[in-house]
């Protein structure tokens, strides 16, 4: 009878907390959106599943050894931890607080004490440390994105870089919104949190995760989920804004065929970009360096095997670990509060402002070029979200004029947006990191 009682006390049903239950439902909702609605399934399936794993009661998959030890709270282990941390209280709360604020050497000896007590890091915690805390996964994904990117349309019409710059306004406007909410007393964001939230407006998953992991790791789960969900919602969010800001005549503008770009230009471009980053903004070097490296692998034409691995096998492997690790941040105590709601709202505002500024900038460029050269619809593609945003521009162009194919023209601002948000990320890291 005792054995049955033990089993019952160790079961998930007995230990399930309300917050964990809600997060299990959130995880299932993400899976539903990914599988049934095709919302960025490559990322939301691993993230949703990781979220479910992270919230399994008693398994502690997303927790470190110390957090697991504190959770089970065996008196002898607790007193060992307290003595390592140099505190007298064996209350779980004070141990965790001392642990999180401890110096690196005390930190690691606390971990060892917890391991002596028979506790280990959770699986997802290890994944998170290896892939995100180290910064590796977003950077490797960025290399893969570089290897998939064709800079041809951008090189044929370099002026579209301005559209990619204008669309980054959403990022900075949102930073202002976040600090505004804080000073009104509605939310409580530091300037680092605000910067990490703003980067959602860059509509670039790996960049958002990279910045969040450096500036405010405790918001990473919500920021990543917001970034990827809104990227999936691009076809719904952008068109109303684009229609509102352009006239029928502007949407009908047909753009001239792009010139042929030589192979040599495509090889030199990533190197030029890298040199410019190296000279002006070394803080963006990790992101744009990997991006340029991936692109050079693609364009140089002598390492097709490496290029193939970077854009297929490697990016897939890393995506799996990245998704599960982000999911590990969807634990109830970190996700279920007002901050997450604030992040979701601010994120979508960032997105809308970015889209609007891109379109307005395209209208301005069009005016300068004589009024019939640039279709303002391609401006919205400046928010990156490759290639979804470019497809949206193309679709709206076809609606206005069935002969008007804007896809290649929109790819220019689209990849410019990737560069722009990486530069914006570098500036954020430089100023508030």
């Amino acid at each position: 009878m005792d054995k049955i009682n033990d089993l019952w006390l160790a079961s998930g049903i007995y230990n399930l907390q309300a917050g964990q239950f809600v997060m299990l439902v959130v995880g299932l909702l993400l899976l539903y959106l990914a599988i049934n609605k095709k919302f960025e399934p490559l990322l939301l399936v691993p993230i949703g599943f990781g979220g479910i794993l992270a919230n399994i009661p008693e398994a502690g998959l997303a927790f470190s050894a110390v957090e697991n030890a504190v959770h089970f709270a065996k008196p002898e282990v607790m007193s060992a931890l307290a003595s390592v941390l140099g505190i007298t209280s064996t209350e779980p709360h004070s141990i965790l607080e001392a642990y999180h604020t401890s110096s690196a050497s005390v930190h690691s000896s606390t971990v060892l004490a917890a391991m002596d007590g028979g506790y280990a890091n959770g699986m997802l915690y290890n994944f998170y440390n290896v892939s995100i805390a180290s910064g590796a996964a977003p950077l490797i994904i960025f290399m893969g994105v570089g290897a998939m990117t064709d800079f041809g349309p951008l090189l044929a019409n370099p002026k579209t870089l301005f559209l990619g710059a204008a669309a980054q306004f959403g990022i900075f406007a949102t930073v202002l919104g976040a600090v505004g909410l804080t000073s009104l007393g509605i939310m409580d964001f530091s300037i680092q949190d605000a910067a990490a939230i703003g980067i959602i407006g860059g509509a670039d998953g790996p960049t958002a995760i990279y910045v969040a992991s450096l500036l405010s790791p405790h918001l990473l789960g919500a920021i990543a989920v917001a970034a990827y969900s809104y990227m999936a919602l691009v076809p719904l969010i952008q068109p109303p804004i684009m229609r509102a800001l352009t006239t029928e005549a502007e949407r009908k503008i047909t753009m001239v065929q792009l010139r042929q770009v030589s192979k040599l230009e495509k090889i030199i471009f990533p190197i030029v970009l890298l040199l410019l980053v190296a000279m002006l903004l070394p803080d963006a070097a990790p992101l744009l360096g990997m991006f340029c490296f991936g692109n050079l692998l693609r364009e140089c034409g002598v390492v097709d095997r490496l290029s193939d691995t970077a854009q297929n096998a490697l990016i897939n492997i890393v995506t799996i670990f990245l998704g599960l690790s982000v999911g590990s941040k969807l634990s109830a105590d970190k996700f279920l509060d007002l901050t997450t709601l604030g992040i979701l709202v601010l994120g979508i505002i960032a997105f809308c402002i970015g889209t609007a500024m891109g379109v307005l900038m395209a209208k301005l460029l069009n005016k300068i070029e004589g009024g019939n050269a640039i279709n303002p619809l391609i401006g919205s593609a400046g928010v990156s979200a490759v290639p979804m945003a470019a497809r949206v521009s193309n679709k709206l162009g076809l609606e206005a004029n069935p002969q008007n194919f804007l896809l290649m023209h929109a790819m220019g601002p689209n990849v410019a947006g990737v560069i722009g948000s990486a530069v914006a990320a570098g500036v954020m890291i430089k100023f508030v990191g």
């Binding site: 930073v175 230009e265 471009f269």
Partner: protein, 80 residues
């Protein structure tokens, strides 16, 4: 404290947006210059396939001539 947070946000916006524009403007300049230099000193290799096309046409013509000659010879032989 809170005022300084707002001013931090404002300065981040001004400097950040300014820097993004400066950087991408420079990139536009450098890229256009690079494209100009490349097209000037290393003209695109497209002429080679263009040359090949006429050569293919010529060989087709030569083929045609050969066929015509063979047919003519055959007709001659048949007639004689």
């Amino acid at each position: 404290m809170e005022e300084s947070l707002i001013s931090q946000g404002l300065s981040l916006m001004v400097f950040g947006m300014g820097f993004v524009f400066v950087f991408l403007t420079l990139l536009v300049g450098v890229t256009s210059l690079m494209s100009k230099l490349v097209t000037k000193y290393a003209p695109a290799v497209t002429p080679t396939p263009k040359k090949r096309r006429p050569s293919a046409a010529v060989s087709a013509k030569a083929n045609n001539d050969e066929v015509v000659a063979v047919i003519t010879a055959a007709v001659h032989q048949y007639r004689s």
